[in-house]
């Protein structure tokens, strides 16, 4: 806020343009309102999505991810840049508005806080504008010269977005410059008139511009002031109205997108929020087939995508050349919305998405690893959309042949291999295992803990060793446990995520009944997919935990001890399974267990914890044949080698399958090996004497 004499001076310069400025205001505000209203039209047509619950949690997200820019530093260069720009924008809001008002209302221009606060604010914002201006230049140079790989646009998705990005960055720079010139002109004019006046912040952009104006005449300064003011106003409104036509719309929508973001991990949206489970049979159509089948929040996600490419940069499917790029899931849908719900013109709707906007292979390629969702600074959700699109394809019968066989086997036999139900518990009958402990089949007998084995560990020759190790660990600790045996069916985790909702429901209902009938008080599993499903897809079950959590707790309680490793030269590394790590936030327990083993040398791969790289996927993904340049597992094994490890520890049977396969394909056979955490613990744990007899788990 300027002093009253400064105000008179400015007023005299700007008064001639007042009608023009008012006109620009009216056109600008009206246009913006209209544009936003048109942009909201498809959202109104979209499906319902209840996002108004738990306001405190949502405000917490806002504070952390929006205000706190929490995700941005994951890419330090761009992260710092954006944080500076964001802080700059927040700080400049009041300044911008007051500048806009100056030209139309002399009265409003004189209002404001006491001059010290005003002066402080003005100094801070002088620097803010300068910083923003410099950031714009840096950003433009980045785009033109350094060209980070994640901004690249594969040819099949059209031309690069660089020109558009630079145009917008340049406009913001112009806005800062215009604001700076205006402030400089006001200060320069003031100085010319009464040798005093507001001091601009030293070395800031306005300050520098004031220097440039020092030798101009008062009349010239007045003209510069008017011009800068007009440019500022027009640029401001142009940007305001242009932003909703591109990725910059995130400036407006990000607040809402973060507020309405999904609060739970690992869970899936139901087929329709407004259709309860029991009424699903009556639903006319399942899944997303046309754009209007998306929920309003998903449409908002499309608007909010800032095209930063961080998601695709971390997407394992994208890395191995599958036709999936999460960034383009959003951008293509956004383009569809812009085209079919234009600001000017009629809307055209209800066209099939798969086959035009998306390809079937693109949608089937996703392993639902969650890396994209972990990265996105705007908390855009991709997994729910992929699952919804798959539901639509399944509803239309459009399922790849390679998946039809295991799905059919799941329907008739409860496992994707087509093996007989009654053989599900056969892994537990091996003589070797029986000598150490006999594994109860629950139903007739009861136990405190249910060991939920799931299909791959039960039937696959290699994975059965994980089951036996797990049984031995539980027996060694003296846990009263049992399995469902032939009554167990596949947890249905991938069945659901591949879009076969009704088959999943059948498996879930069967398993829920069987589990409840055992009256077990808790469930433990070695399969993170089963863990995730039992925790997030099922209802009314006792608490579920992963075997690594179980072992960690037991270790902390001093109930289990480990022998030192045999080969001191081995270097171990732990691979975080997607569904144990990212989706269920279990990172430390497995590491604690490994670090408790005396003499075990452990290194971290560069991509670890929430940046872990998916092994290739589990469940039905093992059956799907995607077009890819390389296996994800091979990339992961190479990462392990780079970290200097020769033993990879996994905690998921699917990771084990993919990694052991990859070790062979990558040519590391003999040089690298993989072991499951349960197998390792089984190998290293000190056998409790009282647990060594077969009577330790009573019954049978």
């Amino acid at each position: 806020m300027e002093s009253s004499s400064a105000v008179s001076l400015v007023h005299s310069w700007l008064e001639p343009g007042r009608h023009l400025f008012v006109l620009v205001h009216l056109i600008g505000v009206a246009s913006f309102t209209y544009i936003v209203w048109r942009r909201l039209v498809p959202l109104v047509r979209g499906q319902s999505d209840p996002r108004f619950d738990r306001p405190l949690a949502r405000l917490g997200n806002l504070a952390k991810f929006w205000f706190g820019q929490w995700r941005h530093p994951r890419y330090p260069g761009a992260g710092v840049l954006h944080i500076l720009i964001f802080i700059g924008f927040i700080l400049l809001v009041i300044r911008s508005f007051s500048t806009l008002l100056v030209g139309v209302s002399r009265y409003l221009a004189t209002q404001g806080p006491p001059s010290q606060i005003a002066y402080l604010y003005s100094t801070v914002t002088d620097y803010a504008a300068t910083v923003v201006f410099i950031c714009m230049l840096v950003a433009i140079i980045r785009r033109l010269v350094f060209r980070p790989a994640r901004y690249a646009v594969p040819t099949r998705y059209g031309r690069v977005h660089t020109a558009d990005a630079i145009f917008l960055l340049a406009l913001i720079a112009v806005l800062m410059a215009a604001d700076g010139l205006y402030s400089a002109a006001v200060a320069a004019g003031q100085f010319k008139v009464d040798q005093a006046g507001e001091q601009l912040a030293f070395l800031s952009l306005p300050w520098l511009l004031q220097l440039a104006l020092a030798s101009s005449s008062l009349a010239a300064i007045g003209k510069f002031c008017f011009a800068a003011y007009l440019v500022h106003e027009v640029t401001f409104y142009f940007l305001l109205c242009y932003r909703p036509f591109g990725i910059q719309f995130h400036v407006e929508t990000s607040l809402f997108n973060v507020y309405f973001a999904k609060l739970s991990r690992g869970s899936l949206k139901p087929v329709r929020w407004d259709v309860p489970d029991g009424a699903l049979d009556q639903a006319k159509s399942f899944g997303v087939k046309t754009f209007e089948d998306f929920t309003w929040k998903h449409m908002l996600d499309f608007y909010s995508c800032a095209d930063c490419g961080r998601c695709s940069d971390n997407c394992p499917a994208n890395k191995v050349g599958r036709p999936l790029s999460p960034r383009f899931l959003s951008i293509k849908a956004r383009d569809y919305a812009f085209q079919h719900y234009p600001v000017f013109g009629r809307s055209s709707n209800h066209q099939a998405l798969v086959g035009s906007v998306y390809s079937a292979d693109e949608i089937w390629s996703c392993t639902t690893c969650g890396a994209c969702e972990e990265e996105c600074p705007l908390l855009i959700e991709n997994i729910d959309k992929i699952v919804d699109l798959r539901r639509g394809m399944v509803d239309d019968g459009n399922v790849p042949q390679s998946l039809q066989k295991p799905l059919k086997a799941l329907e008739s036999r409860g496992n994707p291999y087509g093996k007989m139900e009654k053989k599900r518990g056969d892994w537990a009958t091996s003589k070797e295992l029986q000598q150490v402990c006999s594994v109860k089949t629950l139903g007739k007998s009861t136990a405190n803990t249910l060991y939920f084995v799931d299909s791959v560990t039960s039937y696959d020759d290699r994975m059965q060793s994980i089951a036996r190790s797990t049984a031995r660990i539980l027996a060694n600790i003296g846990e009263d446990f049992g399995i469902l045996g032939g009554a167990e069916r596949d947890s249905g985790h991938e069945v659901r995520r591949f879009g076969e909702e009704m088959l999943f429901a059948a498996l879930r209902d069967h398993n829920t009944g069987a589990i409840r009938a055992t009256a077990a008080k808790r469930i433990v599993t070695g399969d993170p997919h089963a863990l995730n499903s039992l925790r997030h897809d099922y209802n009314g079950l006792p608490p579920v935990e992963h075997i690594s959590q179980f072992i960690a707790r037991t270790k902390r309680a001093g109930l289990i001890h480990f022998n030192p490793v045999d080969r001191a030269s081995d270097v171990y590394t732990y691979h975080d399974p997607c569904y144990l790590g990212r989706h269920n936030q279990v990172y430390d327990d497995p590491r604690y267990v490994l670090d408790s083993i005396p003499g075990l040398k452990r290194v971290e791969m560069e991509r670890s914890r929430d940046r872990s790289f998916c092994c290739g996927g589990g469940g039905l993904m093992l059956f799907y044949e995607s077009k890819e340049d390389q296996r994800m597992g091979v990339k992961r094994v190479e990462m392990a080698a780079e970290a200097g490890a020769n033993v990879i520890v996994t905690a998921c049977p699917f990771c084990m399958a993919n990694i052991e396969d990859a070790i062979k394909v990558a040519g590391f056979e003999g040089k690298m090996s993989a072991i499951d955490l349960a197998e390792l613990v089984d190998r290293q744990m000190v056998r409790n004497e009282w647990a060594s007899s077969a009577t330790s788990c009573a019954g049978g």
Partner: protein
């Protein structure tokens, strides 16, 4: 075009282990999983693709009992408009010829332009389609792996012959074709689709409705009867190598070299 596809419920080849029962006179039928015969499913998919192009509808029919309704429903969930069950106590153990006669009686009462069957079912006989055609006096082609509709009265078909070659012919409608697996990629039938058709009534016709002489089709009148199932005592067979993998490799290489297989 009105297309009829004759389908059959069989023990699923891939999800069952076929073994003899303890009495040794039949296969072990407890815990068998049944589904529609694979080749029949390809035939239904082909029929659906044809009517999608030229209009019309697809009907499916099977000879059997209550248990067999499930496959009619499954194919209706896939897209067939009508399902018909031909059921009668006299039909229970009819042989291939009997089944063809029953189907013929049904077809004679209706009007279909094209009749499809799968090439063969679990007994590997590959007979019903050809017999049905002869009974109806319709032209027939087996092992069909491509169909092109030329007009209302004829098709251009491809048959799978030796060497991977394809024999192209023109065939007049109405005709009977037996369809080979691999002709197309059948669409997926999800649980939801099956539940949607779970309560649709399936018309059932018995011998009197069809005008079939029970004695002509029942088991007692068959000229071919299966007497038993057995697993043959194996002859000499291969010399099985029983050493470790390294030993086996060495031995195998020795033998291959002796036969001139190593360069």
């Amino acid at each position: 075009m009105e297309i009829l596809v004759c389908i059959r419920r069989v023990p699923d080849n891939s999800e069952n282990e076929i073994t003899l029962n303890s009495a040794g006179n039949d296969i072990e039928r407890d815990e068998l999983v049944y589904s529609v015969n694979e080749a029949d499913n390809y035939a239904v998919e082909e029929a659906l693709q044809i009517v999608a192009k030229v209009g019309g509808s697809v009907s499916v029919v099977t000879v059997g009992g209550e248990d067999d309704e499930e496959i009619l429903r499954r194919e209706m969930a896939m897209g067939a408009s009508h399902g018909v069950l031909l059921s009668d106590p006299h039909f229970d153990k009819s042989d291939g010829r009997g089944i063809a006669a029953i189907l013929k009686a049904f077809v004679a009462k209706s009007k279909y332009d094209l009749i499809l069957t799968g090439v063969q079912a679990e007994d590997g006989a590959a007979q019903v389609g050809g017999m049905l055609a002869a009974m109806l006096d319709y032209p027939f082609a087996s092992l069909v792996n491509s169909i092109e509709v030329l007009d209302d009265h004829k098709l251009k078909i491809g048959r799978e012959i030796e060497g991977g070659n394809r024999e192209m012919s023109e065939i007049d409608l109405p005709c009977v074709l037996s369809i080979q697996t691999g002709i197309n990629e059948p669409r997926y039938v999800g649980m939801r689709g099956i539940r949607a058709v779970a309560s649709i009534p399936i018309p059932t016709h018995d011998a009197s409705v069809l005008g079939v002489n029970p004695k002509a089709v029942e088991e007692a009148g068959a000229t071919v009867k299966r007497l038993d199932y057995f697993v043959p005592v194996v002859g000499k067979g291969a010399e099985m190598l029983a050493g470790s993998r390294e030993e086996n490799i060495d031995k195998v290489l020795e033998l291959i070299a002796a036969k001139g297989g190593l360069k």
